[in-house]
């Protein structure tokens, strides 16, 4: 029963997401098949939960099995009908859809890939058991994400007051977080007809796997399958990122949206100079940017402004180069404005009307600016000396220094600039405000970094490939 609930609960949003993505591609499929499913799953789950939220707060549609399923079935049917009527079938596509082909590796490389793949699967299996078969353990699981999901499940509506405050664990204020993630848990539980921790937590490992698929696909398109495997291994080997795949927190969920929003903008810029198939990527980025705002609070203040800045620069550059027409520019801006407005306006109006704070469960208005001691030391320890990231950040920073021209004077700038702005923004908050405790106690710094770590991997892999090419040429 639980397995059936899981399959139904995952399939419907994924199918909707797949159809949305496929519709956005239009007559020009640009995604790998697995990538389309992964992206469809990510965008579909968040979009359908946004739909459930809007229907609940505007029309009072309850969070019941049919309250979730009926709108999804209607949307699914509508999208399928649209696709059947207006989109060409695969046999009549103007360009062949990209297929995933792996290059011929030597036996040594094949063996290495096999060993590392088996090792990854072992870790993943262990993590899946820990995620789905052990009782809830971490604070934010039972005070926030799962607690709110259970509240919605029990009351069948968007409840903002958690009945008992827990002063020690600061549960107060968690209602200000967007409800996408808890709602997905509520949805799975309503399909099953009961609350089961294993079932509602199981979705987290899918977000983790979707991130790996998207990183592989982005790099595959940019650098080829060999480097895509390297980049995917780098991400899959990061211990703290795996922890976030097997513990039901929201940061990996944010990370995959950030990756889609920035990664596809980067792909668009990369392709637009040579390839007419670039514009669909911009639409994926626009939708991911809108949905990103419905994942966690910090996305509005930390992620959206730098994303809009790099978007403006990218589109401005293409227009200046003359590779993007004025019509395409307007169309692109309309996509972003539309996606952001559709998601942000209802959500922010809801927050404002209910007096919910805009910070991460804490108001941001009262932050005093003052230099905070020992923050840099704590950041250095967490980033370079603990087991969280292996050697990703020393590698990344060395590559950024050595290959700065490639990092800053190529389409990769989209990723690099976004990463550096968000990272610098986070560090500035920690260095000059009372949020420094998040670093000194190591409660928030790494999780903020985790949200942009897939992008860091994309940048590091691209620069690594570039470095190897440069050495070969010398």
């Amino acid at each position: 029963m639980l397995a059936a609930a899981f399959l139904i609960g995952i399939s419907l949003p994924t199918a909707i997401g797949w159809l949305i993505v496929r519709t956005m591609e239009g007559g020009t499929p640009v995604l790998f098949r697995t990538e389309r499913w992964a992206l469809g799953f990510v965008l579909g789950t968040t979009a359908t939960m946004f739909l459930a939220f809007v229907l609940n707060v505007t029309f009072g549609v309850p969070f019941t099995r049919w309250g979730f399923l009926l709108p999804q079935i209607i949307i699914l049917a509508g999208l399928a009908l649209f696709q059947w009527k207006y989109l060409p079938s695969a046999s009549r596509l103007p360009l062949p859809a990209p297929q995933l082909t792996l290059p011929h590796f030597s036996l040594l490389i094949k063996s290495l890939i096999a060993i590392l793949s088996i090792w990854f699967l072992l870790k993943l299996a262990a993590g899946a058991v820990l995620l789905t078969a052990t009782p809830v353990y971490q604070d934010d699981v039972f005070n926030n994400w799962n607690m709110r999901g259970k509240l919605f499940f029990v009351h069948q509506e968007l409840v903002l007051d958690i009945p008992l405050g827990n002063e020690t664990t600061a549960a107060e204020g968690v209602s200000s977080y967007p409800p996408a993630l808890p709602l997905m848990k509520t949805f799975l539980a309503t399909v099953a007809g009961r609350w089961d921790d294993g079932l509602v937590n199981s979705i987290h490992i899918l977000w983790y796997l979707a991130t790996l698929v998207l990183v592989f696909s982005l790099l595959r398109r940019l650098l080829g399958a060999g480097w895509a495997l390297v980049g995917t291994y780098i991400l899959a080997s990061l211990p703290l990122f795996l922890m976030h795949g097997i513990v039901p927190y929201a940061d990996a969920f944010v990370a995959v949206h950030v990756l889609a929003a920035v990664g596809y903008l980067f792909t668009m810029l990369q392709l637009h100079q040579t390839n007419a198939r670039a514009l669909p990527f911009l639409r994926f980025s626009a939708l991911a940017t809108g949905l990103l705002l419905f994942t966690k609070n910090e996305t509005l203040l930390l992620h959206l402004p730098p994303l809009l800045l790099v978007l403006a620069c990218a589109i401005g550059y293409l227009r200046w180069r003359g590779t993007m027409s004025a019509k395409d520019v307007l169309c692109a801006l309309a996509w972003y404005a539309g996606c952001i407005a559709v998601i942000a306006i209802p959500w922010l109006l809801f927050k404002w009307s209910h007096g919910l704070p805009f910070g991460n469960a804490k108001p941001i208005g009262g932050l005093m600016l003052a230099w905070q001691e020992n923050v840099l030391l704590s950041i250095a320890i967490n980033t370079f000396l603990e087991g969280n990231w292996l050697f990703l950040f020393p590698l990344l920073f060395c590559l950024l220094a050595v290959r700065r021209r490639r990092a800053l004077a190529s389409p990769l700038l989209v990723c690099t600039a976004f990463f550096l702005m968000v990272y610098a923004g986070q560090i500035a908050l920690f260095l000059f405000t009372g949020l420094s405790t998040e670093v000194l106690r190591q409660t928030g710094y790494a999780r903020g970094l985790l949200q942009i770590v897939p992008l860091a991997v994309v940048i590091a892999t691209a620069l690594l490939a570039d470095t190897v090419d440069a050495i070969k040429k010398d």
Binding site: L151, N166, V247
Partner: protein
């Protein structure tokens, strides 16, 4: 003899002193009442006498026993073998060279109440003030102490033993804890067996991050490459091969850490299997939450009919938030809040809460509930109580 052979022989000769310098230990045994170990100076103690079972210290006043060390080797760890009539705190004191002569560094050490001799292992290297060649040490006792000190063993480790322990330390793993979602300590290097056994019992852990080794190796290799490239004007072909070698070493470090950290994830699962999955319900323990989840699982059906219940636990965190989540929509009340209307009391690991002759729950002997009865007792101090 070729250059390579000469180098190997030279290296072997250079390393010979290390191999002959094995672990060194100085044991001061007090069991031999005829020949006490060294000249001890007593100060302030009521009584300190040699007996067949060791040095018996009995005192109602604070005092100490001190002596010069005269060790022939450096010391990293101390093992104390003792018995004590009561739980007490002993101080291990030492003089660090370069500080004023009367200055002693104080390390308080908790002693358990025991009639059977126990050993207490101390890693002294974790203290910045520790002097491996301290000229003077002392044992100080607090008023009311009755302690038998059987032996003090001071051990020093040579560089090979330290390297071996550092390597084996890398395979010591942390437990899965509440903080593991925020950071993972990663492999730590300690240099003696006592520190190795205690790495992750300390916060932050003992030892140094293994990453330092990787950074040091890579920095040296890159520096050598840079010097050879700049000074020797080597051709790019040769440099390319050396860069490839350095990249390969970096990749080896990466995969090594991946394996090490992956094994830690496996170890989390193994721990849960041993303590939780494989145990019968009454013996299931879940990480540092002990029997909590099993207990709540056993009382949850009894709480379903209750809108609210009083919850008493050793601490609010994490149990209050957890039980709220686990039993929702039944809700725990905060201790001391709205208990009059509530009939059900959930008590977890509070042996100080008991039922008196009137059938009331008592805390430190004071009644805190109306009369009732224990509906379900999980273990002493952990039960569900319902008022009449």
């Amino acid at each position: 003899m070729t250059t390579r052979s000469r180098t190997i022989v030279l290296l072997a000769l250079l390393l010979l002193p290390f191999s002959v310098s094995a672990k060194q230990e100085t044991v001061w045994s007090f069991v031999d009442s005829v020949n006490p170990p060294g000249d001890w100076e007593g100060k302030g103690l009521d009584s300190a006498q040699m007996t067949d079972v060791g040095l018996l210290v009995q005192t109602e006043h604070e005092g100490q026993l001190a002596r010069d060390t005269k060790w022939a080797h450096g010391v990293d760890t101390l093992r104390v073998t003792y018995a004590s009539e009561t739980p007490t705190t002993m101080q291990f004191r030492w003089h660090a060279r370069g500080t004023p002569p009367s200055h002693m560094v104080v390390l308080p050490v908790g002693l358990e109440q025991t009639s059977i001799p126990l050993t207490l292992d101390l890693d002294l290297t974790q203290f910045d003030q520790w002097d491996r060649h301290t000229p003077r040490v002392a044992l100080a006792f607090e008023p009311g102490a009755t302690v038998v000190v059987r032996a003090l063993a001071f051990t020093g480790y040579n560089v090979f033993e330290k390297a071996r322990t550092a390597w084996s330390s890398l395979w010591e793993f942390d437990d899965l804890r509440a903080y593991s979602i925020n950071f993972l300590w990663g492999p730590q290097m300690t240099y003696n067996p006592i520190a190795r056994a205690e790495i992750f019992r300390h916060f932050p852990p003992l030892g140094n991050s293994f990453n330092w080794v990787a950074y040091a190796v890579l920095a040296v290799l890159l520096a050598v490459l840079f010097v050879r490239y700049c000074l020797a004007h080597r051709n790019m072909g040769a440099v390319r091969r050396e860069i490839a070698a350095i990249c390969a070493i970096f990749a080896v470090f990466w995969v090594f850490l991946d394996v090490r950290m992956g094994l830690e994830i496996m170890k989390y699962l193994r721990d849960d299997y041993v303590a939780y999955f494989s145990q019968p319900p009454e013996r299931k323990e879940f990480r540092d939450r002990g029997h909590f989840h099993t207990f709540v699982g056993s009382v949850d059906p009894l709480l379903k009919a209750e809108r609210r219940y009083v919850f008493l636990a050793p601490s609010a965190w994490p149990f209050l938030g957890l039980i709220r989540y686990l039993t929702y929509p039944s809700l725990p009340t905060m201790p001391g809040e709205g208990q009059k209307d509530v009939r059900t009391w959930v008590v977890f690991e509070r042996p100080d809460i008991a039922v008196n002759a009137d059938g009331r729950l008592t805390e430190d002997g004071n009644p805190i509930s109306l009369p009732g009865e224990v509906i379900h007792e999980f273990e002493p101090g952990t039960f569900l109580f319902r008022t009449n």
